[in-house]
């Protein structure tokens, strides 16, 4: 499904007189279809950088990110055109960032409904009921459904973030510390949801702070050092 080949990324900071910062170097790994790969390694070794390079929030410096797309066939995400990346993000690849970043003044329910409506081609009622289900499972209190997530607690925001990313069942899901700010009961719910997604065929790559948790949900681990 995804083959990362000799991926390197560094930043040139012009503001600091062209200072060069290497974020990751020569990363290569493969993720078979339907698998769940964990990325581990001490902080600052470039785990998030790798995910961001796959999602193209960062422009990969060198190397390739081969992805077997349902709509485009085998493509290199590192060099794919912006328009095609947008299309693939809309139809195939989801991303859960470390922190919630949503459009202001959009209610929690709408945040979760929006991707279902635009991507899954279901009716408004169907999308609504799926979103409500998901929010309930993630233990978001019902009276918060029409509130703005920007005002939520850290843990609630993170659960909205997850709901937003998984609601439309992406083909490939990138998870950057999805459980970092959650209590143990919420963590269990999130893991259950991820398990269901995998059963439905979603391939995943995830970074988890908790090593034990990572070994329990992923089926292989790639260590960056």
């Amino acid at each position: 499904m995804l083959t990362v080949e000799k991926l390197s990324k560094s930043f040139t900071l012009h503001i600091l007189n062209g200072k060069h910062i290497a974020a990751c170097r020569d990363i290569s790994f493969k993720v078979p279809k339907g698998a769940f790969l964990g990325l581990s390694g001490p902080s600052g070794t470039g785990k998030s950088t790798v995910l961001k390079c796959i999602y193209r929030t960062y422009l990969p410096g060198s190397g390739s990110v081969w992805y077997d797309s349902a709509n485009y066939g085998r493509i290199d995400l590192a060099t794919l055109s912006d328009r095609a990346v947008i299309d693939i993000r809309t139809r195939e690849i989801g991303y859960v960032a470390q922190f919630l970043k949503v459009i202001p003044r959009v209610s929690a329910l709408d945040v979760v409904m929006e991707p279902i409506l635009t991507r899954n081609g279901v009716s408004h009622d169907e999308a609504r009921s799926r979103a409500v289900d998901l929010l309930k499972r993630l233990r978001i209190p019902e009276h918060l459904f029409d509130a703005y997530p920007a005002t939520f607690s850290g843990g609630e925001q993170q659960r909205i973030n997850i709901a937003h990313a998984v609601s439309w069942k992406p083909r490939l899901l990138l998870l950057d510390e999805p459980t970092a700010s959650l209590d143990s009961e919420s963590v269990a719910q999130v893991l259950e949801i991820l398990k269901e997604l995998r059963r439905d065929g979603t391939t995943m790559i995830g970074i988890f702070h908790d090593h034990e948790l990572m070994t329990s949900v992923t089926d292989s681990i790639f260590t960056i050092c």
């Binding site: 012009h14 503001i15 961001k52 929030t57 960062y58 422009l59 328009r83 202001p104 003044r105």
Partner: protein, 290 residues
């Protein structure tokens, strides 16, 4: 999918121009004024594609050429070079005479006669300026402002024009019982919404937004931006969003071009431009964000 608008090498120079204009201006020279002949290269060799139902952002500081670009595309100024072509799917039915038989893209719009340019503008484009004085007649009723534009697009029935004006003002959240009042009576945010109503009156395919929220206070800015987002998804508009505010660009646009001294220095996905800016100037811009 093919782009709705294909723009290549769009350029605008003020002044006589000389051989050295292009090497003497641009981000490396940190000026857009040619030292040898005094010409100002307002924008040079700008190329981009705009797709249907897409919002493309243009950021840059004052004087970077972003508003010039909009004025060229809206035919307010004549360009010094370049081409702008429309896709047949979008414009063939509206203005068939722009298309040579069998071609997917129109002739270069920049080479049309003033009459044809006006026709293309009335059929396809809408614009909202930072300054409502540019887009509205302040002493004419709001409904009249919209009707004027409908007249330009070929409408003749007064009753229907009034209906359409009321419908648009309602969409942009202006109380319809105030449609006979001139915009000068309105607040800045309301004036901006009347401008948006006017810009949408001919059901344009392309909407140019030139610093539309600059100068509005935060809560009013939020309402105008929310309105634009709703209208875009409802009407499947293509937006060209010019702003110096990265927050506005981030909210509205998936792709962004960064301009400096008349040149495009960088373009890419908006989240990439914000999180992994490549060019020196973009890094400065991102680092300067509040």
């Amino acid at each position: 999918m093919e782009p709705l608008i294909r723009t290549r090498g769009l350029s605008k120079r003020f002044g006589p121009g000389c051989e050295r204009c292009l090497v003497a201006t641009g981000p490396e020279c940190e000026t857009n004024r040619c030292n040898y002949c005094g010409s100002v290269v307002a924008c040079n060799d700008v190329s981009f594609d705009l797709y249907k139902n897409e919002a493309l952002g243009i950021v840059g500081e004052s004087g970077s050429g972003k508003s010039t670009l909009v004025r060229l595309l809206h035919f307010e100024w004549d360009s010094t070079g370049g081409s702008v072509e429309l896709h047949a799917d979008a414009a063939m039915q509206l203005i068939p005479e722009l298309f040579d038989s069998g071609s997917v893209y129109s002739r270069n719009l920049l080479g049309l006669s003033p009459f044809q340019k006006r026709q293309a503008r009335n059929a396809l484009m809408g614009i909202v300026y930072q300054n409502p004085f540019l887009g509205l007649r302040m002493n004419v009723s709001s409904g009249g402002n919209i009707a004027e534009r409908l007249l330009g697009a070929g409408w003749r029935n007064i009753g229907r024009m009034r209906e359409r004006s009321a419908e648009l003002l309602e969409k942009t959240e202006i109380p319809v019982d105030r449609m006979d009042e001139p915009p000068k009576n309105f607040s800045g945010g309301m004036q901006q919404r009347v401008q948006i109503a006017k810009a949408l009156s001919n059901s344009p395919l392309i909407l140019f937004l030139d610093e539309v929220t600059t100068g509005l206070d935060l809560s009013v800015q939020a309402r105008v931006l929310d309105l634009i987002r709703t209208l875009q998804s409802e009407l499947k508009l293509s937006l060209l969003v010019v702003s110096h505010d990265l927050g506005v660009i981030n909210l509205l646009c998936q792709r962004t071009m960064v301009m400096k001294y008349g040149r495009v220095v960088e373009s890419g996905l908006t989240d990439q431009i914000l999180q992994d800016p490549q060019h020196k100037y973009t890094q400065l811009l991102v680092a300067s964000q509040l």
